[in-house]
Symmetry: C2
């Protein structure tokens, strides 16, 4: 007896379909005949069409056959095991760790995003004639690429045209795309050691061999690179990750000569050079290259928002046809709304203003944290890297209980970050992110941190 | 003589930095001494601090050394070749092919996107306390995952919890992520032939072997799959791409038994099953599985908008730790704004309403195109696939000049799409997309297409 309710919101043929399906699964054998349309229609006081719709659905799903003279029979399959459909309760809360102070070294504070302005631009963009029915350019919106080109030419000394730019959904996306593009030609990547662990992950996963090249005070050791036989290198010349070293012009030129001579490719990751507090941003390596040997990677995550998920890549000209050949040129990687709003943000001049604002804001936080660290930790610590980005890197200069530091931080609900965790090298430093705090929080966070720090000193510092 | 202008908007120390840099590149030799701070300050009527700032920038960039007694000297490098910076003119227009009628088979019409509603939701979301300063969950916003779970449980019969879902930026992104995740365990992919070329591309690029499995009227040939020795299969069971075949329940159960016995993994791509015009959507294969053997892929591109770039993937439970181990769980793949707006769109019930609207809208277009094709091409054509998705697939049944079809289409500015182009198999059909047109356009486009079609017939059709 099927449970069919004429007053139910679910259409009758769907109710019937569910009931018959259940019946077949539980009670029928292969080749059993189903009741005729007429019989069922009469029995449940529904139209023949209703029964036919239900049968038709069972037919396309393959539960029944339609035989000669329109008799419906069950297909030769046992459905029993699969028939049990249990209702599912969805868990509506996700467990999360809570910290009092989180020193995440790649964070901006919430108030640093121009929310009102962005909302206004979003509304303007949504008035326009955006086509949400179509896929859009795989390289990204042309207008946005023009704005990015103008910016990096002017501010980063990059040499490029908009047709060399690809809009991606973040650093890993840019790098993954590139790695796929050049695998035919290169199969060994040389990268900085210590360096950014995601780089190794991305290239590893695509089957590249990865060779680590040590650093000295000028960044990448060029002799070691030369000896590695690799013709592909990943570098962060303007603000080395994680050590903060800047590659001087002399080494940049040597690196470019190496690339020219070996027909090699340099991947320049310029991830946070907008955030320079003591000097101007270092002009890009790409801008010095005259031989089409540099891929330039940039992102909006460090200076605008990591939640937007927009990065970009400037290809040397010889890679453009390879990209076009390999990837779907009609499927973009970032939502059209986001691209168009960012384009407007840049073309109306807000990006330049935002950069000035964000530099000032973060310079203040940087200087505050630096002076507090110097004041509270004094000569028990050495600053390894400062003056740029969103973190100050420090190390103890006296015997130190690292294990205790981690334990105590956990106890006090402070989240700390260590260079080694994300760089795969032996080089260690504590990465004190300031970008996510406001100034009051910096004072409180460093107070608490300093308390813990002093518990971990195993030796008294030498007097000054 | 440096060109320093006190009235210029560019700060004095930056003007000076550029002038000295140019001077060094063009005129200095290694170890040449630069003028003292005092001398330059006097000569150009600027403060000593200004000169020091300029020198400091040259210092970090590595053009000069700072020696004993604060004398600055040029580093031992020849900069000549790299000194020439040419101004760059950015090309501001991108060349584009224009078509009169574009039969793209995966397009929605512009008016099918709920623009006003989406705008309202965007504004609501932007009022809320979104944190644009932080990275957000790598799996995607939990709230959005809950909404997706509710939807696919109810409408697609999927069995899942929100913690099994990963939000991705489109089909390729979902598939690429998955392919990286399971490479350790599987290295051969079996896929449908003909099938979606992007699948082959993604798995090829990661070093998988790809084996093609032929189809019959029930989809994937299960014997052939069994003989292939592969333990990983990609399939589109509800609406096979490109043939449109539905895998019946009997074969679904056999496929699941195969996966259970072999400890194999099935990738179910359910790309457009919302768009079913004659029957209800076929319940998912995943929902029949009791052994954690199916990965379910879905997307918002076909029913809401391809320009949003949002897709999702439901992992079987045993893959969740592998995902968490391999990927950055703190970096999302889709912009927070888009995720939050979509979440609201679903939780307020708009998604259900939209699906009803979009089904009705596209059913009309589908039926119109189908009847026009039947009327105009009559018995010279066979419909290969219809009743679902965004295209009707047809083939000529008489001798036909395919080359001429392509030529004439180009001449008349009609863009046609062929199954073979994107499926890598031998199976051919013309994919007549209707989703991008309004009803008037369908009439005009089919009129023009029919005119061309009849020029390509090399044989008169048999009388009915």
């Amino acid at each position: 007896m099927y449970n069919i309710n004429q007053n139910n919101k679910t259409p009758l043929h769907i109710q019937l379909y569910h009931e018959i399906k259940k019946d077949i699964i539980e009670n029928y054998k292969a080749n059993d005949k189903l009741p005729s349309l007429r019989k069922l229609a009469l029995e449940y006081n529904v139209s023949k069409n209703t029964v036919e719709s239900a049968y038709s659905q069972l037919l396309v799903e393959g539960y029944i056959h339609n035989n000669y003279k329109s008799a419906y029979t069950v297909t030769d399959m046992i459905f029993g095991e699969f028939g049990v459909i249990k209702p599912i309760n969805i868990t509506k809360e996700e467990p999360k760790e809570q910290y009092l102070y989180d020193f995440f070294p790649a964070r901006l504070s919430k108030d640093s995003f121009p929310l009102k302005l962005w909302k206004r631009l979003l509304n303007k963009v949504m008035e326009e004639t955006l086509d949400f029915g179509a896929y859009s350019s795989g390289q990204g919106e042309f207008g946005l690429r023009v704005e990015i080109a103008k910016y990096i030419i002017k501010s980063r000394g990059v040499k490029c045209q908009a047709n060399q730019i690809i809009i991606c959904s973040g650093f890993s996306d840019s790098l993954g795309l590139l790695a796929k593009m050049i695998y035919e030609k290169y199969n060994t990547l040389a990268m900085e050691n210590p360096g950014y662990h995601i780089v190794k992950k991305v290239f590893d996963s695509l089957g590249y061999k990865v060779k680590k090249i040590d650093l000295d005070k000028n960044g990448l050791k060029l002799d070691e690179l030369n000896n590695s036989q690799s013709k592909l290198v990943f570098t962060t010349p303007s603000h080395q990750y994680p050590t903060g070293v800047t590659m001087p012009i002399s080494n940049r030129l040597k690196l470019l000569s190496w690339a020219k001579d070996k027909n090699a490719l340099i991947i320049e990751d310029d991830y946070d050079s907008e955030l320079s507090y003591e000097n101007r941003p270092i002009p890009s390596l790409q801008g010095l290259d005259n031989n089409d040997r540099v891929v330039y990677l940039g992102t909006f995550s460090k200076s605008l928002s990591p939640a937007l998920r927009v990065s970009y890549m400037v290809l040397p000209n010889h890679l453009i046809p390879i990209y076009q050949n390999l990837f779907d040129v009609n499927v973009s990687r970032v939502s059209l709304i986001i691209q168009k709003t960012l384009e407007l943000f840049m073309s109306e001049g807000h990006w330049d203003r935002h950069l000035r604002k964000i530099r000032t804001l973060n310079r203040k936080k940087h200087n505050l944290m630096k002076s507090l660290l110097e004041e509270k930790l004094g000569n028990t610590m050495r600053i390894e890297s400062q003056g740029a980005g969103l973190a100050i890197l420090i190390n103890p200069v006296v015997k130190f209980d690292w294990h205790k530091l981690k334990q105590e931080a956990k106890k006090e609900k402070i989240k700390l970050y260590f260079a080694k965790e994300k760089s795969g090298g032996e080089w260690e430093a504590i990465r004190m992110g300031f970008g996510g705090f406001n100034e009051d929080e910096i004072v409180e966070a460093i107070n608490l941190f300093s308390m813990i720090w002093h518990q971990c000193l195993l030796q008294r510092p030498k007097p000054l």
